[in-house]
Subunit: 340 residues, 3 copies
């Protein structure tokens, strides 16, 4: 439980109401509950605000007129909500190295580091102060982890890879596996050993079961502030620019360079060896078949339809080029006919 | 080895033949082998039935006329086959807690529970009777697992999540990682701590390396009888209705509500904040770009073609709107011409 | 560090220059660095060759004329580079069984096998000579691993599955989880227990977080020399032919047969129960909606466009069949008009 006063102070907002009332967490405005805080981000939700059951609402001044309960005025309620969630995270207060963790004696473990049960930490690993290493995590030899990073259970980081400060890596993520590189010699694939690393900046979050491959020769680079959702594939030699966010199940083929501040929706595919400019937005399931040189919003794909309708159009797609030529031919004939 | 009589009894069928003959398992009708059972689900396979080498065939009465070997008559041979497979599963008879498992003393472990080597069970975890916890599984604090559930090796369940009875969770699955939620503040992504849980009903199966994210505020809900294949992503706040089955590599963006009894094929993408009705079927690789309000079968996408043909049509897609307008223009001109 | 002479000898090339100079590894030709080797694979990179800073270049004789530094002449520089990378792999010289590994006493472990910390090896497992089993790997009962195979950390292999010689399996990969098989009985999914195995040939590499499901009745088969990238799904009963390579995030639905020497790009979907011929190439994100009977290069999908342009064409896709019929109608009317 936190008091409304604590929340207002934490988010730097102006409280109208009783600072001593307590809330157990948040509830959504569309279904708000007593003893919780909620927030309003758009005037289109004002109808829900009028009848809210929440104990306190985080809002812009312009929405305060109709708020039936206590409120906290801020400039950006969504950002304020994000900040406020920090108060409700269960912090594991116990700082300890589990007896079952297997830590090479050459590893350097910072101050205030937690290492959970059955974690395995290799030779010459460096873990910065304040990190939390989950159960079953495996860190290969020479891995470096910056301060205040959290590696959840069953994360794997291959030898030599580097993470910056305040990283959050979710379970099942694999950092530094071999890139997919082979030379075809007389029909047989000969492995190209992947000699680069993965180097990850500060404030990066990587989702569950996401894989980031090590570079073939140079390193795969994830810059500061990048956010990767679950189930993503980042191929070898990729370079993901600062503050770019990629949603789940996207696949970025090797040697792709993505700029800063991009927002890439789920299941998007990058065909490899492409460059994407800064500030590019991609709709879900986009096929990035070529480099994108200008900022902007891009998309590809076809609409969902009832199966029978779709089948007809699906089949016609094969005739698209022919249809185009028939239109051209019709135009020509019609012009000739008119000319007569 | 099981006898034909045991199978007939287990599936409640009517045996014509020797109950004492033994089979080691199943073989497919198209390639059936001696000392195995097989089954026929469609009259189109009757040609294979005529020449089967199986010891016994599970079939409908209407197919018994041409069966050259012993058979068991049932109403639904495919369902009967499913039931019969239960007899051939290797049951680990050993019920034990591995000495290397790390179990918090506050955890409550039911009767007849197996915990395999190096599993890690957090504080205040509750595990129901008859569960099997695989090697390397990590259960966060406060996780609750219903009776008779099986968690295969290297499953990770984050703190506070709940599984119902008879769950089967496959290796590498991650339940309860943080949803992908950030507030953009002056170009930087500020984490929204994910305060909800994942709550999973009874009789749910979740495939290898599938990820189900915890809710942002409220819980992510997976109802009774849901079946999720491998490599799936279920975003935060999703609600998947009873008995819906989702095939591999589908990505369900956050806050999607999917109804009951849906059948969703692989690599389908849900664009987020959508609602899908009950009894919806989706073809593989469908792009669910908007809510689906009516039951039925839906699809999207374009056909596979030889590369050169595809390239021509692919390019023309960019002209589709223009082509449509040219057709309209042609129609108008032709009407005018006829009018003269 | 390796000498240029060692490299020339290892790749069987003809060195022009000082065999005693040392290099620490490779750098790419487009950004080559001193004390490294590099290589040139195409005449289009000759401009970079002219100004290379590398210590030695692997090249074809025809490119040697303009090389400003020492070089090694070979027939196939890319293959030679692949071979040369073998010299720079960090070999863990330590052969040992970690005390924390949990190995069933009935398991058979070959000569020179390394088992890392917290690995769990089940009953009747057989591991061939020279294998390396990573930290946290779980091998189910009866698993067989051929000689000289490498299983990276946190790999899971279910009971009864077989790997050939020289396998490389990356972290988070799951081999042998249950295929997605259910019989629908009165609206409820009844599990079909998956009684087959996964059988994998020699020289197979499987990427991070890839899942290969066990067969329903017979086995799932991965032939010799197959290379699977990360995040791939291989459904039950699939058969992948020799030397086929599949890139990341592809999903192969159950009972698909893929021929030999295929090259399948990322995010490609196979709709299930299909057959794909030998020597088929598939562009990324292809939808393999039907069997492919002839070798060749295939593709599907639509081009990436600026969002506004795309939206217009996207909508028109629903009218494709109608557009086709309108063109036909126009053609007919025009012919009639001309006839008059």
């Amino acid at each position: 439980m936190k008091t409304v006063g604590e929340i207002a102070e934490h988010i730097g907002g102006q409280l109208k109401g009783d600072p001593n009332r307590q809330v157990s967490g948040f509830s959504p405005l569309t279904n708000s509950r007593t003893e919780t805080a909620t927030f309003i981000t758009s005037t289109k939700f004002r109808k829900y605000l009028k009848s809210t059951n929440a104990t306190v609402v985080i809002l812009k001044e312009s929405d305060s007129d109709i708020c039936p309960v206590d409120y906290i005025i801020v400039e950006d309620p969504y950002f304020a909500y994000a900040k406020a969630t920090e108060l409700f995270v269960n912090q594991n207060s116990e700082v300890a190295i589990a007896p079952s963790a297997v830590i090479d004696e050459s590893a350097s473990i910072g101050q205030g580091v937690t290492v959970a049960a059955n974690a395995v930490i290799g030779a010459n690993v460096t873990i910065g102060d304040g990190c939390s290493i989950g159960a079953g995590v495996v860190l290969g030899d020479g891995v470096e982890i910056g301060c205040d990073s959290t590696l959840n259970a069953n994360v794997t980081i291959y030898a030599g890879c580097q993470l910056g400060e305040r990283a959050i890596i979710h379970s099942g993520a694999v950092i530094g596996a071999d890139g997919f590189g082979f030379a075809n010699h007389q029909g047989v694939w000969v492995k190209i050993h992947q000699l680069g690393r993965v180097v990850i900046g500060n404030d990066v979050e990587i989702g569950a079961n996401t894989a980031v491959d090590r570079g073939a020769i140079d390193d795969t680079i994830i810059e500061n502030g990048v956010k990767l959702d679950n189930q993503i594939q980042i191929g070898h030699n990729c370079h993901i620019g600062e503050n770019t966010a990629i949603a789940s199940s996207a696949a970025v083929a090797g040697s792709t360079t993505i700029g800063k501040n991009c927002a890439i929706a789920g299941l998007t595919g990058f065909f490899g060896h492409l460059e994407v400019a800064d500030n590019v937005t991609l709709t879900a399931m986009s096929a990035v078949t070529k480099s994108i040189k200008e900022p902007g919003h891009y998309a590809s794909g076809t609409p969902l339809q009832p199966y029978r309708d779709w089948q007809k159009n699906f089949t016609r797609f094969k005739q698209l080029d022919e249809m185009s030529r028939r239109i051209k031919s019709l135009e020509k004939e019609l012009t000739e006919l008119k000319g007569n």
